[in-house]
């Protein structure tokens, strides 16, 4: 009866330790994951550093306590003719020791905690600090470059090595702003302007995730942090600050007409329905009730690579506008075109989102896509 139990204890110990080991390897090496253990900026690095520290402390405690536990149940298992044990009620010295020892461990961790907390925001970087107002909507992110008069959605573009100071505002419920490889979370609370400083040290693309449950499509509220080399950032910024070009292609021109006819109710394009610097987000969510455009600013839509809170990707190569059998414009391969799926039926792609549109014909969709592609 007894032996199988101890084999079981060993097996269980093996499972736990195997899981523990594989966990650390996986988490550290997960290249495609937004892993907090693969930090690319000073804030996330400090946070990850603390993790390794706690992991060491916790592992020591875990191994020590579980060993004593397993030793006790193996060593003191009931055997035939075993006498009754001594009826020991306690020992104050031992109690004192094991109150003080874990306290020392815990306070060591606490000191590390408090030290890191107060140093988390002391970061410096190249050039001036860039101020960005982040506005969380249900369920997408909008970025207002306060001093540069541009507004983007879904993609937060920043230069490498520069301190970014974000001010977090919500247009509705509580959200949480998180870029695992760059910085931990700060909640986006209506009526409050929380600040979050960070710096990204490696050019690349990083996943940003909303981590406070915010309703139906909470799962689909992501964004991309695009970190560009300084020079590329400057040229990106200049391009973003220009007004949208009026298209020359006939399909795109037809698409622009369609856009002006109805989409402008919610979407803004500088040069079409907005003046440069015309969409002032900053004033809107400070507690006032100014009416605003409900949807993302699309002035330079074609420079983005994702749409709809990263539910779909946007790639002009897979959205080539050709003609159908009757000679009308149509998307050549609609199944591969994310934007086509979106314009066909946004509620099917992301149920419950604010984009309520009538049914568009394939021709209209092709014309709109041609126009949006021209918004470089």
């Amino acid at each position: 009866m007894r032996m199988p139990k101890f084999r079981g204890v060993k097996r269980w110990g093996t499972i736990i330790s195997a899981l523990l080991l594989s966990s650390i390897l996986l988490a550290a090496c997960g290249e495609t994951s937004p892993s907090i253990l693969n930090p690319q900026g000073p804030v996330a690095s400090k946070e990850a550093g603390l993790f390794w520290f706690i992991l060491v402390v916790a592992t020591i405690v875990f191994v020590a306590v579980e060993s004593v536990l397993i030793y006790s149940i193996v060593r003191f298992r009931e055997r035939p003719n075993m006498p009754n044990p001594r009826q020991l009620h306690g020992n104050n010295t031992i109690e004192l020791i094991w109150t003080i020892v874990p306290s020392l461990f815990l306070f060591a961790v606490l000191i590390g905690t408090i030290y890191t907390m107060f140093n988390l925001n002391s970061i410096s970087g190249q050039g001036r600090i860039i101020d960005i107002k982040v506005v969380a909507h249900q369920w997408w992110w909008e970025f207002d470059y306060t001093n540069d008069n541009i507004v983007t959605a879904d993609e937060l573009v920043v230069p490498v090595g520069t301190v970014i100071r974000t001010t977090l505002a919500s247009s509705n419920v509580i959200h949480s702003f998180w870029i695992p490889q760059i910085t931990g979370k700060t909640d986006v609370v209506p009526g409050r302007a929380n600040e979050k400083l960070f710096r990204a040290d490696t050019p690349g693309t990083y996943l940003g995730i909303c981590t406070e449950y915010c309703g139906l499509q909470h799962a689909n509220m992501r964004f991309q942090l695009v970190v560009l080399p300084q020079a590329s950032y400057v040229s990106w910024l200049h391009n973003q600050q220009s007004a949208a070009q009026t298209p020359t292609d006939p399909n795109a021109t037809a698409g622009m007409k369609l856009f002006q006819g109805s989409c402008v109710a919610c979407h803004g394009i500088v040069g079409v329905n907005l003046q440069p610097g015309g969409q002032q987000l900053t004033a809107q969510y400070g507690g006032g009730s100014a009416t605003t455009l409900k949807g993302p600013n699309l002035t330079h839509f074609a420079t983005r690579t994702t749409i709809a809170g990263l539910v779909l990707t946007w790639n002009p190569q897979s959205c080539v506008v050709g003609t159908d059998s009757s000679g009308k414009p149509a998307i050549q391969n609609p199944a591969a075109c994310g934007l086509y799926k979106w314009l066909r039926d946004p509620q099917a792609v992301k149920p419950g989102n604010d984009m309520q549109i009538g049914k568009l014909s394939d021709t209209q969709i092709a014309q709109l896509i041609a126009y949006l592609e021209s918004l470089q």
Binding site: E47, Q87, E95, G184, T211, A219
Partner: protein, 563 residues
């Protein structure tokens, strides 16, 4: 009486049985603490199956990326109801049930102090639970998470800074009204426990001689009395906001959504100790009996429970590190959270010391108790990690937190509950649960729990947020999620083993006798199951192990021990 004729007597015996004497009536009309305890436990177990089914649906949806099993709306209702059901309708009534059944017996009382209020509390839980679950019939189950944050829980108008729709429909009304009802029941139950434990102990049973399960039940009752007003107020303000047009939680109109969080968590954190302290108590009863030793450091276990109770009111904002509180406030809550870990550690050491040097009998109950220590330790360690504020910024609201809370509540409370069921079932039913099936259940559950919840640590570190109904396939989360879902189904199998064991035992289980474990406390010093009046003669108590003293008069504790 003496003048009654024979004829009258015959008429009396032929009288139709009144409703309260029929089998069903006996249960419905009962005010006996033992029957009510059983009803609490059976009801709680029913809701455990409901909440478990909800969890299985959630895990099925997440087994593979882009899961298509559930819609977003259904998923959100299911995870909300899973949390709400498990906390308010499984763990709380289950622990109340144990308290109801065991505490009066342990302290040598004939019933609870207020038997009728006891029955009232039970019926409110039952109907409150049915009311909450009935929301599924309307397709409008609560869907804003078990902590139901403002302003997501508000109605359409005036929500947030601008009028953007939040939760419309009855979902949140079901939640708020259900919580109010369950709160009424908990207050009734807690008052009853406090008075019973303070006033109805057998002669000689001083506070310092009470069994530790009684101690922990007493502390839990005080925690409930002091924490429930906060969530009650929060829910009432919410209902006013939703239906009367007030703006307590609406930033745009001068309210503050964080008010909800403060009110909720100043209930919510004592609440997590309400869910675990009675489990600590059960472990402190089971370990000594199966180690053949008294509990090690009785005073330290009891008073560390009191310390946890007090400190639990000072740590609530550690649920709110990411909301942007001032740094000094965050440092305070990090410190108080560190402090509360100390009495918890002390308890674990005392339990291990109880086993150490003993003569350990591996019954199913003991295995669950040892499993509790092993699993709760993991939950304690990753909980202490969450008090490391900058690390918390990274892992709060990710699967790391899900892992932590399930190691504490499943690895902790549920293991203790099964330990308690295997321990007290013979007293309650007069029959021993099948040990072989019990051990199968234990090993399946141990493997299942670790397979389900350990990978969640890693998922959190890999950036997976909680409460998402879908995730993309290219983020490195696929294998771990699948593993977790497999683990959840293994847990489900282990629960089925228990249900089978339960049925088989009731039909043909081995007779238990009055004292199958050679136990130490008074509940074993009466018949199994006990008569309605519990004890023929109220026992007199001279030490912490009165029944041990009675069985071993020569080496009784009151002769040899120094307390």
């Amino acid at each position: 009486m003496a003048t009654r004729t024979i004829g009258e007597s015959i008429r009396l015996t032929k009288r139709r049985k009144s409703f309260s004497e029929s089998y069903i009536g006996e249960w419905i009309m009962t005010i006996d603490h033992k029957k009510l305890g059983i009803m609490y436990m059976v009801t709680a177990f029913f809701f455990f199956l409901v909440g478990g089914t909800e969890a299985l649906l959630v895990r099925t949806q997440l087994a593979v990326p882009d899961g298509k099993v559930l819609t977003a709306e259904i998923y959100n209702q299911l995870f909300t109801m899973h949390g709400t059901t498990m906390i308010f309708l499984f763990v709380m009534p289950m622990l109340t049930g144990f308290g109801n059944y065991v505490v009066p017996l342990m302290i040598g009382a004939r019933d609870m102090a207020f038997p009728r209020m006891n029955a009232f509390g039970y019926w409110v839980v039952l109907f409150g639970g049915l009311f909450l679950s009935a929301s599924f019939l309307f397709g409008q189950a609560p869907n804003a998470g078990w902590f139901n944050y403002a302003p997501l829980n508000e109605l359409t108008t005036g929500c947030g800074a601008t009028a953007v729709s939040c939760t419309t429909g009855l979902n949140t009304d079901f939640w708020a009204l259900g919580i109010l009802m369950l709160g009424v029941s908990s207050i009734a139950g807690s008052l009853n426990f406090v008075v019973t434990i303070l006033k109805m102990r057998a002669p000689g049973m001083t506070i310092n001689r009470m069994p530790l399960f009684t101690w922990m039940t007493l502390i839990t009752a005080f925690l409930l009395l002091f924490s429930l007003p906060s969530v009650t107020a929060a829910s009432i303000l919410l209902l006013l906001d939703r239906h009367i047009g007030t703006h307590f939680y609406q930033a745009g109109a001068g309210g503050d959504p964080l008010l909800w969080q403060h009110l909720f968590w100043s209930f919510g954190h004592p609440e997590v100790y309400i869910l675990i302290l009675p489990a600590f108590g059960m472990i402190s009863e089971i370990l000594p009996v199966f180690s053949r030793k008294p509990i090690f450091g009785y005073t330290f276990i009891a008073w560390s429970g009191v310390a946890i109770g007090f400190l639990s009111f000072t740590v609530w904002a550690h649920h709110m590190f990411a909301v942007g509180l001032p740094m000094v406030a965050q440092a305070f809550f990090a410190t108080s959270t560190t402090l509360i870990a100390i009495p918890t550690a002390v308890k674990i050491f005392n339990w291990i010391a109880t086993i150490y040097g003993g003569k350990v009998r591996f019954t199913a109950s003991m295995m669950f108790a040892v499993g509790f220590i092993a699993m709760f330790l993991i939950g304690g360690l990753n909980g202490a990690a969450l008090a490391v504020v900058p690390f918390d910024y990274q892992v709060t609201d990710t699967y790391f937190v899900i892992s932590h809370l399930h190691y504490v509540l499943f690895g902790g409370t549920v293991f203790a509950v099964f330990g308690g069921i295997f321990y007290w079932f013979p007293k309650i039913s007069g029959r021993l649960l099948n040990e072989r099936l019990g051990k199968w259940q234990f090993w399946l559950m141990l493997v299942g729990v670790n397979l389900t919840f350990f990978p969640m640590h890693i998922l959190g570190l890999l950036g997976m947020p909680r409460r998402v109904y879908t995730y993309a396939g290219n983020l490195g989360w696929n294998e771990l999620n699948l593993l977790s879902t497999i683990g959840a189904f293994i847990i489900a199998v282990s629960i089925m083993v228990f249900v089978w064991n339960f049925i088989v035992t009731l039909r043909s289980g081995e007779k238990a006798g009055d004292d199958p474990w050679d136990a130490y406390t008074l509940e074993w010093d009466t018949s199994s199951p006990p008569k309605a009046y519990n004890f023929e003669v109220i026992p007199t108590v001279r030490s912490r192990r009165p029944f041990y003293d009675k069985k071993n008069p020569d080496i009784a504790d009151w002769k040899t021990a120094t307390h």
